[in-house]
Symmetry: C2
Subunit: 187 residues, 2 copies
Amino acid sequence: MTTTPTPRPGGRSARIQAAVHQAVQELQQEQGRAGLTVPAIAKRAEVTPSTIYRRWGDLSQLLADVAIEQLQPEQPPADTGSLRSDLLTWLVEYFEEMSSAPGRAMLRDVLGTQDHACAGKCDGLLRQQIEVINERALARGEQPIDIGLVTQIVVAPLMYRILFANETPTTQAIEALLEPLVSSADG
Amino acid sequence: MTTTPTPRPGGRSARIQAAVHQAVQELQQEQGRAGLTVPAIAKRAEVTPSTIYRRWGDLSQLLADVAIEQLQPEQPPADTGSLRSDLLTWLVEYFEEMSSAPGRAMLRDVLGTQDHACAGKCDGLLRQQIEVINERALARGEQPIDIGLVTQIVVAPLMYRILFANETPTTQAIEALLEPLVSSADG
DNA sequence: ACCACTAAAGCAAATATTTTGCTTTAGTGG
DNA sequence: CCACTAAAGCAAAATATTTGCTTTAGTGGT
């Protein structure tokens, strides 16, 4: 039998990671990007800077890591009675978050890092959430929606506007993109 | 009468900027992102590091600036006889560039920087190119295409795949997205 | 419960980078 | 040709990053 599936999942690593992540979030809130330096984060987390450098490589990778954690949904999408409105409600909230200043900072961190897998996780989380909405729809007897189609038709254009046109999508804009996809059931 | 529309457009600024930009491109090619530090760039450009820090602020803003310059098309889109094929040809080339390693690095630089206007320029350049294709179509008597629709239906989904799914769009994928938009004239 | 093992953290010295105050250079308008 | 000034150079100071070595604290075996 092989051992240690993850090298050392023990309590210390986790504790340090939590302390560092929390320090990043606190400093980010208190002083924005300006106060975010590795030494400052290390000090707040009561950790040595070299710990951060050795574990995360550099500031941008640490920030990307924290950003991904923050993207992790705290609650599953709200159940509003139908797939159509679940999806709309969730998308509106998602893009509100993404186009806010902190959301944009998170996107910058995630897209600006070398870490290849990072942006992929972002897409993965989105799909997971839509999956939950789909499962609920299925349980209601509704037809689930093609997740790839949602990202292609709704998510991608909105993300493009946020990233490249510096726009903030309105609820109406989201609705307009979503409508053609859900024009089967509901009202 | 007011004077000096731009503060000091004179030869020195331009010379220094050109030297620094060139130094970035050379080092990037020779050693990838690893060899790209402000001191290294300064040395190659025969310039003082403080010049770079004072003009560009930091490395990421300099890289974003260079990336935007590299995005500047060297030639207008090829004239292939019809709007449909002009557009397809150009888009295939554009996304080939964007999904290559250097293209992805450029996107990271552009999207990862604080400089707000930077990603906007990227969108602006794209629109300009499609505009040229449109004008040529118009001259041929063809119906021009809605640029906003092209970015929404074709560009945004492809960009999303590059950025968030780490995919490399195939010609077929591009064609499939473009087809519904140009299904009026041509063949 | 103890012990040997080792991944990961701490520490501190060595490097590298960024910032800053002041000086010098070189376009610009008169 | 001269006075003016934006921008570059220089060098010292402040910060941040890397690195070799030491210490700490989970892990598995007994």
